[in-house]
């Protein structure tokens, strides 16, 4: 064991020392002042990038095994702690699968941008796994989910109207993030990341307060960020809808004992529909279907009018305005930098106008997306699929393995060696 440890340390030491590099030659002081040794970190070496992706793949595999094969909440808990420590506090929350959406979108809209393969891997691996095995990434790998999950002490049931309205937000957030990243305005997911400041022990006060508030809510509401904000969760939800080997509450046939109905703190368990009344009539369903294109059109128009406001948040537009009207943001110096570079105000305006033109188109599409999401979500909640047993809703299940413990069928097989002490007969 000790030899193995020495080998690991020996292999990693050169990489650690390679991180030290002088930022720039120091000035030559004539007063005898000795410049302290200044160091700047170099970009993460390829070795570390490979390591990150390897750890991601490994933890994904272990999480899938823990949830689907071992059906062990304890193993998931261990992986959760590891992911929080490694991807969160050690890797400081970056690279992260959630933020990688923006890099991917930016790479699509900006062909001159080379998407780092690590980022591509972080984007694709969890989605690929979700396509076959469900949201295993959420269950044991995502450090942000891990932090909220570990904090959950006394889950309360979120009322339907809150879950419905807030559950729509991730779709809207995803649309906005795609728009801003596609235009090259901002990586809003990263800028508004509520937990990265906690991982790094430093950050803007508003982000820290937001993150703190979310964590406080996490004590009683299961994973509020994952359920009501996470844009990557939307993609994972879509992917896992197709998954064949996802979480099944019961390892064998469900006996519909109702014992698991409250087991999921995320409201992802759907009861059987047999015998339940169906409030949605064909007429109201038709009305709601007709409402979808109307909502798309109305929100598209709204989005179009919103374009100037959205464009106003773009740094290039702000800079052009600052260069032109001379009210620069004193904390940013971008207008000053533009002048110092002896660049023309007209160039700033031309650039800003291109951005604004992009926003005119993009915001219209964003509005249409908002309308589509709202319309389809209304429809989705009107629809009552037929279920004969308790199921983990494939899109919403976060693969945390909590529900297994409530299932008597699970317990029977797990504790079969104890004989008649636990549910030996049906």
């Amino acid at each position: 064991m000790r030899r193995r440890l020495v080998w690991v340390v020996g292999a990693l030491a050169p990489a650690a020392f390679a991180q030290e590099q002088k930022a720039q030659p120091p000035p030559e002081f004539t007063s005898g002042y000795a410049v302290p040794k200044t160091l700047a970190p170099v970009p993460r070496t390829d070795l570390w990038q490979v390591l990150d992706v390897a750890v991601l793949a490994l933890v994904l595999a272990l999480a899938a095994r823990a949830v689907l094969v071992r059906r062990s909440r304890a193993e998931i808990r261990v992986l959760t702690v590891f992911s929080l420590l490694y991807f969160g506090f050690y890797r400081l929350g970056c690279v992260c699968a959630i933020g990688s959406i923006q890099n991917v979108v930016y790479a699509v809209t900006h062909p001159d941008y080379a998407l780092p393969w690590t980022v591509a891997a972080f984007f694709l691996l969890p989605l690929g796994v979700a396509l076959f095995l469900g949201r295993v990434f959420c269950g044991g790998v995502c450090p942000m989910g891990a932090m909220q999950d570990l904090l959950l002490v006394k889950p309360v049931r979120v009322p339907g109207w809150i879950a419905g309205s807030l559950g729509t937000v991730p779709y809207l957030y995803l649309g906005a993030a795609v728009l801003f990243a596609g235009i090259g305005s901002a990586f809003v997911i990263c800028e508004a990341d509520p937990f990265v400041a906690i991982f790094r022990l430093s950050g803007p006060i508003d982000v820290v307060v937001f993150g703190g508030a979310l964590l406080a809510v996490s004590l009683v509401v299961g994973r509020p960020y994952c359920r009501f904000l996470c844009p990557y969760g939307v993609l994972l939800r879509w992917a896992s809808l197709a998954s064949k080997f996802r979480v099944r509450i019961s390892p064998a046939e469900c006996v519909n004992c109702n014992l698991c109905s409250d087991a999921c703190p995320y409201g992802a368990i759907e009861p059987p529909t047999a015998g339940a009344r169906r409030p949605a009539t064909r007429r109201s369903l038709g009305l709601q279907i007709a409402l979808v294109p109307a909502l798309v059109a109305a929100f598209a128009v709204g989005g179009h009018f919103l374009a100037p406001t959205l464009a106003g948040y773009d740094a290039r537009v702000r800079r052009a305005l600052e260069v032109l009207v001379e009210k620069p943001d004193p904390t940013l110096l971008r207008a000053e930098a533009w002048r110092i570079q002896r660049r023309e105000a007209a160039d700033a305006v031309l650039e800003a106008r291109q951005v604004q033109a992009a926003f005119r188109t993009g915001a219209t599409w964003l509005g249409a997306w908002f309308g589509l999401v709202i319309g389809l979500r209304l429809l989705a909640f009107a629809r009552h699929g037929r279920r004969d047993e308790y199921e983990a809703e494939p899109g919403a299940c976060l693969s945390c393995a909590r529900c297994y413990a409530s299932c008597p069928v699970e317990n029977r097989s797990r504790y079969a060696h104890l004989g008649n002490l636990v549910g030996g007969t049906r």
């Binding site: 002490v153 009322p159 339907g160 109207w161 809150i162 879950a163 419905g164 309205s165 559950g167 729509t168 937000v169 809207l172 022990l201 006060i205 004992c257 109702n258 014992l259 698991c260 109905s261 409250d262 087991a263 759907e270 009861p271 059987p272 047999a274 339940a276 009344r277 169906r278 409030p279 929100f299 709204g302 989005g303 009018f305 919103l306 100037p308 406001t309 464009a311 106003g312 537009v317 305005l321 032109l324 009207v325 001379e326 023309e344 105000a345 007209a346 160039d347 305006v349 031309l350 800003a352 106008r353 604004q356 908002f370 709202i374 979500r377 209304l378 909640f381 009107a382 009552h384 409530s406």
Partner: protein
């Protein structure tokens, strides 16, 4: 409760209280750091500036070092405190969580069946549907509110609406013309590219580089002028009889006593009062005072409340000046930032070819590159913005005009009318925000809007290529439009007898009915002005061509009353007051001519310096800008 559970609960309490204390300390630290910023950058900057002036001052150096160390220490201390606190908080919260979760685990009861679950799931879905609907309504409302609010964000809208060319223009080289434009060394006068009017004595051959050679009557952009049927003398009546205009249909915008609010005043070349009798700058005769203007410019003086306003500029500096009208002392000079740097003015054009506009509270000045700025009468710059770069080969030279609380700017640009880049814009003189703007299908011009009251309502008459148009000041609505302009339009309009008069080399002289723009007569067989604008008095229209030919036309028929070569080229516009007409030639000699049906030269009075600007007349005193000075002429 088992002993384990009890201890875990106690541990949770202790850890919780500990975490709360640490959290409170962190909050206090954060507030303290933010409220008492230890970094006094201005103080250190000031010390560094002083040290740069006195590098040998060891005491100063020590003080800077001391302050630097102190700043670092304070910053470092708060950082260390925050980091330590965060780690303690993390530990405390972890302990609290572990113990709490442990206790709950030990106390956990077995799951109980819930037969109501299926029904509850349906209620949840119905609730979720209502939630989504509510969210949709809220979002829709937010969209509407933000849309309404954002429409008032004029600053942001500016970049959206700014008529920036898609390709940076080569706005270089040639000189600008307009509210007093300079002579262009080595080039024929602006407007010579237009068709020389057949038989016109002042017509110049040749074309300017970059302009289209025109056939007679043609204008760039493919519009073919259709001269009206000509009677002997070149004048033509309208083909369809136009009812005679009502003499009261158009009149000047009321102007405050003792003011001269815009280029050529609100009388469009005619003024109340009398002209000074005579002057001779070299001998000091008739000169009340003269003052050096710090920076060059070709704009004319404007006056309000005893101050004379002028702009001046060179490549690096822009300034607005106010001189005391009583003694010529410089009351204030205010620098103006250069916003659009994508322009290189020629020495001939300069950077300040325009005349400022003034009203009771504001002064608005524009510059050759499309920059515009607003000031109060105390010289404080209120705002500045740019409409540049503009596609304008000589530079933007149209002057602003302040009417009814709106600063109106004629932003004509482009090489052909269908480029869609030209605008007429009204700005709030207090903020510079756009109040309205109208797109104009015209190419670049150098003319200035003329303020007037048409049928009792404030309007501006705007000359461009290929039409003259009148716009309401209140909302920018186009009142009428009259085709017939062409070439490089620099002269502005004048008015009287219910008519609007224009005269443009390369096109024609026209009388247009003020109420609807219908042509009353046109005449193109004349020595028409390139730059100088016409003036009107008592049934006669006067104008000067660039070669110095002064022409009087009958305002009712368009027939020549008299035509006289003064011998010297003139760019300045004629000023009529007290029945006399004053015209400065380019060499600075002012000729006073008796108005009326017979030409009579009353006198020639030299200033001895180049004059391209047009004079202002207030209280019997004449204010004239030369190449380097501002003169006040009259009786002391």
């Amino acid at each position: 409760m088992s002993p384990w559970t009890r201890s875990l609960r106690r541990t949770a309490w202790v850890a919780g209280v500990f975490s709360a204390i640490v959290f409170a300390a962190l909050v206090v630290n954060a507030i303290a750091v933010r409220s008492a910023d230890p970094t006094p950058p201005t103080q250190v900057d000031e010390l560094v500036t002083r040290l740069n002036q006195d590098p040998a001052n060891a005491e100063l150096l020590a003080e800077i070092r001391r302050q630097d160390v102190w700043i670092r220490e304070v910053y470092g201390r708060s950082e260390r405190f925050a980091q330590l606190g965060f780690l303690l908080l993390l530990g405390g919260v972890s302990a609290w969580l572990l113990s709490l979760k442990g206790a709950r685990h030990l106390e956990a009861s077995a799951p109980r069946p819930d037969p109501e679950a299926p029904l509850r799931a349906i209620e949840q879905k119905a609730g979720a549907q209502q939630g989504v609907l509510a969210l949709g309504l809220v979002l829709g409302g937010v969209l509407v509110v933000v849309t309404i609010l954002s429409r008032h964000d004029a600053v942001n809208a500016y970049v959206l609406d700014s008529r920036m060319p898609e390709v940076a223009p080569a706005a270089r080289g040639a000189a600008a013309a307009g509210g007093g434009a300079p002579p262009i060394a080595g080039l024929p006068p602006i407007g010579a590219a237009g068709a020389p009017a057949p038989g016109a004595p002042g017509a110049l051959p040749g074309t300017l580089p970059g302009t289209l050679p025109l056939s007679p009557g043609a204008v760039p952009g493919g519009t073919e002028l259709q001269p009206l049927p000509t009677s002997p003398g070149g004048a033509s009546a309208a083909p369809v009889p136009v009812p005679p205009p009502s003499p009261t249909a158009i009149g000047p915008v009321p102007s405050a006593s003792g003011s001269w609010a815009a280029f050529r005043g609100f009388g469009a070349g005619s003024a109340e009062g009398t002209l000074p009798g005579a002057w001779n700058a070299a001998k000091g005769e008739g000169v009340v005072w003269k003052a050096d203007v710090p920076l060059p410019g070709w704009g004319s003086p404007v006056l309000w409340g005893g101050l004379v306003f002028l702009s001046g500029a060179d490549e690096k500096t822009r300034e607005l000046y106010a001189f005391d009208a009583r003694n010529g002392k410089l009351a204030w000079r205010t620098p103006v930032p250069v916003l659009n740097r994508q322009f290189q003015a020629s020495n001939d054009a300069g950077h300040a070819p325009q005349t400022a506009a003034v009203d009771a509270r504001h002064v608005v000045a524009s510059f050759v590159n499309g920059d515009v700025a607003g000031f109060d009468h105390a010289g404080k710059r209120l705002w500045s913005r740019t409409f540049g770069p503009m596609v304008n080969d000589y530079g933007y030279a149209s002057c602003p005009v302040l009417v009814d609380g709106k600063a109106i700017l004629q932003l004509d640009q482009g090489h052909s009318p269908d480029e869609g880049k030209s605008l007429l814009v009204a700005l709030d003189p207090a903020t510079g925000k756009t109040l309205w703007q109208v797109r104009r299908p015209v190419s670049a011009s150098w003319s200035t809007p003329v303020a007037a009251r048409i049928d009792g309502k404030a309007a501006v008459i705007v000359c461009g290529n290929p039409f003259v148009a009148a716009y309401g000041v209140a909302d920018g609505k186009e009142l009428w439009r009259a085709e017939g302009m062409g070439g490089e339009v620099a002269p502005s309009a004048t008015f009287g007898e219910g008519c609007v008069f224009v005269a443009q080399s390369g096109a024609q002289a026209m009388a247009l009915r003020a109420t609807d723009g219908k042509p009353v007569w046109t005449n193109y067989e004349l020595a028409l002005p390139d730059i100088s604008s016409p003036a009107y008095l008592d049934g006669i229209l006067y104008f000067a061509s660039s070669d110095g030919t002064l022409t009087a036309l009958d305002a009712k028929s368009g027939q020549i009353v008299w035509e006289k070569g003064l011998g010297k080229p003139a760019r300045s516009s004629p000023l009529i007051a007290g029945g006399k007409l004053l015209l400065f030639d380019n060499e600075g000699t002012g000729r006073i001519v008796q108005t009326g049906r017979t030409f009579k030269l009353l006198g020639s009075h030299p200033l001895g310096d180049t004059v391209s600007a047009s004079p202002a007349l207030v209280g019997g005193r004449l204010y004239v800008r030369t190449a380097s000075k501002l003169y006040c002429l009259g009786v002391r």
